[in-house]
Amino acid sequence: MGVALFLNIVTALLEIELVRMFLSVVAVFTFVAIGGAMFLVLMERKVSAWIQARIGPRHVGPGGVLQTIADTVKILQKEHIVSAQADRFMFSLAPIMVAVAALLSYVVLPWGPGVIVRDLNVGLLYFAAVSSVGVIGILIGGWASNNKYSLYGGLRSAAQMISYEIPLGLALLTVAVLTGTLSTAKIVEAQPYPLLYYPFILVNAFIFITAATAETNRVPFDLPEAESELVAGYFSEYTPMRFAVFQLGEYGALFANSALFVTMFLGGWRGPFDLPLIGAVGSGIIWFLLKSYAIVFFLMWVRWTYPRLRIDQLLNVSWKVLVPLGLVNLLVVSFFVVMGW
């Protein structure tokens, strides 16, 4: 009796939009915090150690897997310091803006068949829009710190993100033309693409992953936070917890971009076969996560392999290579689609 009543109450609550919204936010945030930031930091440390022939963290837990949990507890206990000449309000606001912008992009990620926070009609555009808001957080964080290196970091970040939004947008547009929709769930359903299109999709995937790496400020495009010249750029004045929130936003965006890559080019939650016991939805989620983490691994591999670009090289890559390539690619794909090939 008690259980039935409880279930009834739960079903009634789930009918309310606000409750569902709240629960989705909690679920997404939990994932970003644990599967995004905490796990990815550990993964980055292990991958970098492996690439540099080191061992990496190994003392906390078996093989060091609990290292980031220990670090998080440590970070939570540390003191907040705001430098005397800093703009207090803006200084506190900046990391939140970066993290929220990254979090918002998870709304349109299709985790599995029917598992999506909200299948927007304009999903792809939405993704591009909310991820472009994060740069404001970086800019004001750099300015509010009242530190010239931070300011340079913020300015570089703005220049970089504005330049790379254009190839990113072209890559998204090409996929939209190809599939005839902007909804991320429908893009997964439209795959696999016709065989004829694959050369162009390959070019498109290259443009997207390059632009996404630049958008997430990672090596070889990490000029905004170049440790060796800008002492970490826009977040050099930030003390642990606020710094951690910046990192949360950054790793959250890294996973979100990888997941979008999987959605657009690698069939999203589709797998070669359904895994036993967990059903179609469960195995869809597993395949999606596996593919996304594989892309994350690829990006880490790139990060620890290549050196950083110079600012002029970086802008040249965007304006003189990626933008023309993306435009031509879009034109050719549109032509093919119009001809009905």
Binding site: D87, M90, L120, N121, V122, L125, Y126, A128, A129, V130, S132, V133, V135, I136, L139, I140, G142, W143, N146, K148, L151, G154, L155, A158, A159, M161, I162, E165, L182
Partner: protein, 164 residues
């Protein structure tokens, strides 16, 4: 409906407050950053009108691009201070007169317009429909806007490049 009304008033409050900071703040960086809630609030109003595409474009272009460019320029020119000593000039009476005239015009327009009221939620529309109307009914406007943007682009390049 009550929920929509509440959302509308919250959004309006946010827009008006932030807009007041934009025009009133002594710190030009604060003013620039306050544009973000204004523009996001307008995007929220578009959500209430079920104009998804417009919402997303508003965020992408106004918040993600124009505000960023604005802040970029402010930070480049003002450096780390963001402080402007001079916030007002001698044109206050003239500006007040223009503002009052504009207010009267708006009030007249608002009260005289026969608003078509309906209980039906506005029809869901898609990007395809937007694109089709852009290239059929409004093709002239679209092309003129494109030409304008091209002209300003060329102008900016001409100004920026050094004469050899």
């Amino acid at each position: 409906m009550a929920g929509e009304a509440i959302a509308f008033y919250i959004l309006t409050g946010m827009i008006v407050t932030a807009a007041a900071i934009v025009v009133g703040s002594k710190n030009i960086v604060h003013a620039g950053v306050s544009l973000v809630p204004v523009l996001l609030g307008v995007a929220g109003l578009y959500v209430l009108l079920r104009a998804e595409f417009l919402t997303v474009v508003q965020i992408l272009i106004y918040v993600g691009a124009i505000t960023v460019l604005l802040l970029f320029v402010i930070l480049l020119t003002e450096g780390a201070t963001g402080l402007r000593t001079r916030q007002r000039n001698e044109q206050v009476p003239l500006a007040a007169a223009v503002a009052a005239l504009f207010l009267v015009t708006l009030l007249v327009a608002l009260t005289r317009t026969p608003w078509a009221l309906t209980n039906q939620p506005s029809a869901a529309y898609n990007i395809g429909a937007v694109g089709t109307s852009l290239f059929t009914t409004y093709v002239l406007v679209f092309e003129v806007a494109g030409l304008l943007i091209l002209a300003s682009l060329v102008g900016a390049i001409v100004i920026a490049r050094k004469e050899s």
